[in-house]
Every structure is written in C-alpha cells, then in structure tokens.
C-alpha cells in the first residue's frame, strides 16, 4: 500500500512516497510520475523518507523513465532513503543510473 503526495515548491514537483511499493502498487508511482511529466515539470524530487519498501516493480518504474527524462531534459533526484531501500537500489546498480541524495537540501542542489 502506497500513499503518494505531490506538492510544488518553486517550480519543482515534490513527490512524496509513503508506505510500500510492490507489484500491486507500482502503477500508482507510474501514474504520479507520468502526471508530473504531463504537467511539464522539468525538475522532480522524489521524497523517499517515508518509503518503507520498494520491490523490483517499483525500481522498474524509475528505470523506465531514464530515457524519456534525457530526451525531455527533465532532472529527477531521489532523497531520504532508509538503509534497506537504498540497498535495494544498490543491488541492481540503479544508484549509478539515478540521482540519489541523502536529504532534500542536497537533492535541490543536484537539481540545479
């Protein structure tokens, strides 16, 4: 079960993920990011501080946007992951492909 909250700060879309993302809920993450892209945001922050779990279905959603973000010049930074969630990204080497910051301040700097 995942709750996704979106709020806009200084032209940046901040997407907060609360709960667990698995095969039953990864569609919600996909829809939230698609909405952000559809609303023409070019700076997206993903707040993972309340994300308790992510399965490969959720990781796959992030990965599926990498190419589109490059084409559209969109930058996305994930921040605030707990150790277990960040380990999941590392197992698959996604930490090399996505921008990941430890906190929001650092994430904002990486967007610029």
């Amino acid at each position: 079960m995942i709750h996704i909250k979106r709020l806009q700060e200084d032209g940046t879309d901040v997407v907060a993920l609360v709960g667990e993302i698995d095969a039953s809920s990864s569609i919600d993450l996909d829809l939230a990011i698609a909405k952000s892209v559809g609303e023409n945001f070019t700076k997206i922050l993903i707040d993972c501080s309340a994300l308790e779990y992510i399965s490969s279905a959720g990781l796959g959603v992030f990965m599926s946007y990498i190419e589109e973000f490059k084409e559209k010049n969109i930058s996305m930074v994930l921040f605030g992951m707990n150790e277990k969630v960040s380990n999941t990204f590392e197992i698959l080497g996604l930490n090399e492909l996505l921008l990941i910051a430890s906190d929001k301040a650092e994430a904002k700097k990486m967007l610029a």
């Binding site: 698995d22 095969a23 399965s55 490969s56 990965m63 990498i66 190419e67 277990k84 197992i91």
Partner: protein, 141 residues
Amino acid sequence: MIYKQKVGCKLENLKPLRDFIRESLALHGVHELHISEIVLALDEMCSNLMIHAHHCNPQDLFELQIDIQPNKPVVFEIIDDGTVFDINQFDEPALGNLIHDKRKGGLGIRLVKSIMDKVEYSQRNGHSICRLEKKVRKGVE
C-alpha cells in the same frame, strides 16, 4: 524449524506474505539487511508466479515454506501446481537494454540471482517446487 504459509494468487497478498517472511526470519535472529534482501527476492518470485502462472486468480493457492536450521543455509520452497516459471532459463537482461527499451520489467531475475545462492526447480508428488537457498548472518555484526 519449518514455517508454512498458503497464499492466494492476488497481488494484495504480497504484503502479508512479506510480513510472514520477515517475522519467521527475525525469530531466528537473521541479520536485518539479509532479511530485507530475502524479502525482496521472494516477493519477486511470488509476484511472478501470481502474475505469469496464475494470472492473479485469487482462488489459486501456492505454499511458501521456510526451513531454518542452525548452521545451515535457509531453504525456501515455493510449492505450486501451476506452470513453472524457471528463471534459470532466462538470461538477466543488461540494464542498458532495459533503459533503452523503457521497460518496467526484467529487473527481477537479476535481483533474485544476485541475492540467492541457489535457485533450483523440481517436481514432487505432482507439485512444482522452486527451491531457493541463502546463507545468512545472524544478528548485528
């Protein structure tokens, strides 16, 4: 000690299944990071089974068994009547290809193979068994 759980094939059952795995391993003092990796791999195997072999039919059941013995790798068995989805027959797709194709799937096989020490398939009493093994560390080291 053997722990068993029967699961209906709907994706909403993944969460209670993850809780069952976490709780069983935690009872034996398995290191937390190992627990989270194992949960990830089994979530992947079971969601694949629900989606690809059972088309998310909640009436179809499979069983997950966890066998934890001192000084031995933990053995997980997914016991099912359905079609086997043998991940050993699939190569892990290169990350670059997945990104290029904008694919959302395909990561799971990579994940299971990198987390588990062994994945084997067999038949027993008319059931398909997927057996996974993982050496685990105990406690916080």
